[in-house]
């Protein structure tokens, strides 16, 4: 497909389209260039490098997170045509399961303390005390993914036979149920098996287990693992740094980059690795016989059934796989913060819509498109407008202007030909205006570019490209008459 494109496209486009990696790298560098220009205007020259490093880190981190979730969603929507708008709910299940398993039983809220058992096992039985905690953390992350997959299965088992728009309502309803349960004080702390005293040979087989979601108070998450790499005591940087930490901090400090930025960049590096893993997993899935059935379901479920495929089982499996990836995405999303609570925007339905927009920008069905969409969404719609508003703020010196209390005063000032108060008001309301921009872009995309940037590269359901064979024979008209696309 992309070869055919390259032959038709103009010089630059052909070069860009030749390799997916080039395309993504060029996009990222274009975003970096944009943010560098904005940064040069914004930041004081004394701290230019440090501030730029921090700002570019933000863009990269959001790009990686949105790319990851867009890839997971692509598995549902782009590959199989399952319209899941409960992404935020599955992320929350992953994060909370992980946290509740990880947290210490004596903490607030209490957890199961799995890493303590695992490190005991590694320390006393295996004889590798240093590795226990990391393995314990990985176990918790895996179980978080499993929980997200299981909740996905509960939603999918009956819901997948529904029409696409019904599935949409079921999933968004489920994600809101999850969020409300996490917010409910009923589960702030609770005890499992409190009323069940089943004894077997004098030993209680279901011991009382104290657990908690923390409700509005939030819940502790494992400390950012990067800190454990760089600091001797992750919770107290004053205790000194490890060899690797000292080396990197000195190196970065020399050019004026703060320690926290080095830590964030390292975490972002991990995120990029995970984007690669997600991408690889999706390509492998898509090219497997399993993936071909998925695409066949997307194109025409009836035909797939007629060919003897149990489409329900395929859909449930892929729904679970995608939900597990969303759970992992959620864990990585919150993983650097050390703390989360259900009032944070992460678990609102808005996050789901953001991921959808990222996927639509890139083009549902294309893996490279998902990554590209994540990067463009994070850069141009998520971080870009805010940075641009900061530039406006600085250029027009709005910091010294009294911000009008409401839109009537702002418009009143504008009518008096005093533009500064109006701009100051707009600046104060920039996050609301960003939502308006996102909405307008979404509508525009659905009207003008419903396929996104790379949606035309939607992967084929067949092993060989039927269109291409037609072209090589000088045909293609036959397909067009059947309603197939001639223009790629």
């Amino acid at each position: 497909m992309s070869d055919a494109d390259a032959a038709q496209g103009s010089g630059l486009r052909a070069w860009l389209m030749r390799s997916d990696l080039t395309l993504i790298l060029v996009t990222m560098f274009a975003l970096y260039a944009l943010f560098t220009v904005l940064g040069v205007i914004l930041f004081p020259t004394s701290d230019l490098v440090g501030s730029l490093a921090s700002s570019l880190q933000g863009v990269t981190q959001w790009a990686a997170l949105y790319a990851m979730l867009a890839l997971a969603l692509n598995l549902h929507w782009g590959y199989t045509g399952l319209f899941n708008i409960g992404v935020a709910g599955f992320m929350a299940v992953g994060v909370y399961t992980m946290a509740m398993l990880y947290n210490s039983p004596s903490g607030t809220p209490p957890g199961l303390g799995v890493p303590f058992y695992v490190s005991d096992f590694f320390g006393n039985v295996v004889g590798l005390p240093g590795w226990g905690f990391l393995v314990g953390l990985l176990v918790c992350v895996l179980l978080g993914m499993v929980a997200a997959a299981l909740i996905g299965a509960v939603a999918a088992l009956p819901a997948l036979r529904l029409r696409a728009d019904y599935l949409a309502i079921v999933t968004v309803g489920l994600s809101e149920i999850i969020r409300r349960v996490l917010l409910s004080t009923e589960f702030q702390t609770f005890t499992l098996f409190a009323n069940l005293d089943v004894k077997l040979g004098g030993i209680e087989i279901l011991p009382d287990l104290a657990l908690g979601t923390g409700a509005g108070q939030g819940i502790n998450l494992p400390a950012n693992p990067v800190r454990a790499m760089y600091y001797l005591d992750p919770s107290n940087p004053g205790e000194g740094t490890t060899g690797l930490g000292s080396f990197l901090f000195d190196l970065a400090g020399g050019v004026g980059i703060r320690q926290s930025v080095v830590i964030s960049w390292t975490y972002t590096g991990f995120l990029i690795v995970f984007v690669g893993i997600f991408y690889w997993l999706l390509v492998r899935t898509g090219n497997s016989p399993f993936g071909r059935v998925l695409k066949a379901i997307r194109e025409d479920e009836g035909v797939a059934q007629a060919l003897g495929k149990d489409t329900r089982r395929f859909k449930i499996k892929v729904f679970m796989l995608g939900c597990a990836l969303m759970g992992l995405g959620g864990i990585l999303w919150e993983g650097s913060k050390g703390f989360t609570d259900p009032t944070s925007t992460t678990f609102l339905p808005l996050t789901t819509f953001y991921v959808f927009i990222a996927l639509i920008i890139g083009g549902a069905g294309s893996n490279t498109g998902s990554v590209l969409g994540g990067a463009l969404f994070a850069g141009l719609l998520f971080e870009g407008p805010l940075a641009l508003m900061q530039v406006v703020n600085k250029t027009f010196n709005l910091g010294n202007v009294n911000t009008p209390a409401n839109v009537a005063d702002a418009l009143g000032a504008l009518a008096g030909l005093d533009y500064q108060p109006f701009l100051a008001f707009v600046f104060a309301q920039r996050s609301a205006l960003r939502f308006v921009l996102v909405g307008v872009v979404l509508i525009w995309l659905m009207q003008r570019r419903p396929d996104g940037l790379l949606g035309h590269r939607k992967e084929e359901a067949s092993t060989v490209n039927l269109m291409e064979r037609d072209k090589s024979r000088g045909g293609g008209g036959v397909v067009a008459a059947d309603g197939g696309e001639v223009d790629e």
Binding site: F83, P158, A159, L162, A164, D165, Y166, A168, I169, V170, V172, G173, L174, E176, I177, R180, V181, L183, S184, T185, E186, F353, F356, I360, A405, N406, V407, A408, D409, L411, G412, Q429, A432, L433, F435, V436, V438, G439, V440, V441, L442, I443, M446, Q447, P450
Partner: protein
């Protein structure tokens, strides 16, 4: 014999439709438990108390009433969602923000009229985001009925204009697209509307109305009674005599002994919502039964192309659909905020899923279904307090919606489309 045959029937359902069987069993259990709670009767197995706790009947009546009040608002809002779903073929995720638009348009009008001449119009039109707050205006249905009614008409009018404008700009160019594309576009519309309202009206949650009279319904010494204050019943209980200013009379046939208590309190604004909703619903019923519009809508919901070749002016029907749906949802938003007494730019978004639940429960496309579904969801989300804490009642309503989609996606009335 009757028992065995019904047991056999139950067994058959359990085998053939396990989902229905489980839901049915749970429903029977809940009904039993409700009765048990009302009678304050604890259930023991051996020495274990399996089921305990009770609910005073008066409390249940209060929840029922509140459920009916919000349920009517959901139903009124649901009519438009149901109609656009069946006629334009997509789930409109911006419907909740039409609700908010109506609420703000209505209250801006009410504030401006109530405060005209005394305060700056710009401040008034900003509904609490300006320099005027509701306590300076003293708006209520009893003190300023005309202001409330004018606000209602503007709420409907502005919401209709906004809906028609959005249809022209967003949905009309996409008429032939699939439902999912339109659904995604409607999410964009929802974001734009909601955050434009946030930009203009700020993110505050201002109060709207003055305190308004409440009528207490209850019983004094076995007689049905209406009083202006709740305290009347407390005085009556303490002294054994009916206080001044309360009306009471014996209801025939039902003997409630010497029961003395308030059963339910009704505010004037709750009553306004109920009366306005019922009138509008009846008017809608007449409109769809007496004019050809109802028939045209049913035809379009069934088959758009067939309707067009039959000579039905499809674009005009779509326009009328938006006018009816948007007008009603605008009024619903205005009435809902009148009843709750506060307004917030996310109010419609927060109840959108409840409206969806109502529409799905009643069967997508059915207008009477939407109204019945709204009442059912309203009552269910309030009376769910019998079993679950208030922080989870909304979740329970969503759960009902999901179960409905899974087991009976046609809705309670079997998918009768439009009227």
């Amino acid at each position: 014999m009757g028992v065995t045959s019904s047991l056999a029937k139950g067994g058959r359902i359990a085998r053939e439709r396990p989902g229905v069987f489980v839901v049915g069993t749970v429903a029977v259990f809940l009904a039993f438990d409700l009765l048990r709670k009302l009678l304050f009767f604890d259930l023991y197995v051996g020495s274990y108390r399996v089921l305990g706790g009770g609910i005073p009947a008066a409390q249940l009546v209060t929840w029922l009433w509140q459920g009916i009040v919000v349920g009517l608002a959901y139903g009124l809002a649901g009519v438009g969602l149901s109609m656009t779903y069946s006629i334009l073929g997509f789930a409109n995720f911006s419907h909740g923000d039409y609700f908010t638009t109506g609420a703000f348009a209505g209250w801006a009008t009410a504030f401006v009229i109530a405060g005209l001449g005394r305060f700056d119009v710009g401040d008034l039109a900003l509904v609490g985001a300006g320099q005027v707050n509701s306590s300076q205006l003293n708006i209520s249905i009893l003190s300023k009925p005309l202001v409330i009614v004018l606000g209602l008409f503007v709420a409907a009018g502005i919401t209709i204009l906004v809906a028609l404008l959005i249809d022209r700009l967003v949905y009309k160019p996409m008429r032939d697209e699939e439902g999912i594309s339109l659904l995604i576009a409607s999410i964009g519309v929802a974001l734009v509307l909601r955050y434009v309202l946030n930009f203009v009206y700020s993110g505050r949650r201002p109060g709207l109305t003055a305190n308004v009279a409440q009528w207490s319904f209850g019983a004094i010494d076995g007689q049905f009674a209406v009083a202006k204050q709740r305290s009347a019943f407390i005085v009556a209980k303490a002294t054994g005599e009916a206080p001044e200013g309360s009306v009471h009379f014996k209801i025939p046939f039902i003997d409630i002994g010497n029961y003395t208590s308030q059963i339910v309190g009704v505010t004037a604004h709750e009553l306004t919502l109920v009366v306005a909703s019922v009138i509008l619903m009846y008017a809608l019923h007449l409109l769809l039964q007496r004019t050809k519009l109802g028939t045209s809508m049913r035809a379009m919901a069934d088959n758009k192309d067939l309707a067009r070749v039959t000579g039905i002016p499809t674009e005009r029907v779509i326009r009328d659909t938006w006018i009816i749906g948007a007008g009603l949802v605008g009024v619903a938003g205005y009435m809902f905020t009148l009843e709750s007494g506060t307004i917030f730019f996310r109010v419609g978004w927060e109840i959108l899923l409840l409206i969806f639940a109502a529409v799905i429960l009643g069967g997508i496309g059915s207008i009477y279904g939407a109204i019945a579904g709204g009442l059912a969801i309203g009552v269910a989300s309030e009376t769910a307090l019998v079993w679950i804490p208030s922080s989870l009642t909304t979740a329970a309503a969503f759960a009902i919606m999901i179960l409905m989609l899974l087991f009976k996606p046609d809705g309670l009335f079997g998918g009768v489309t439009t009227a």
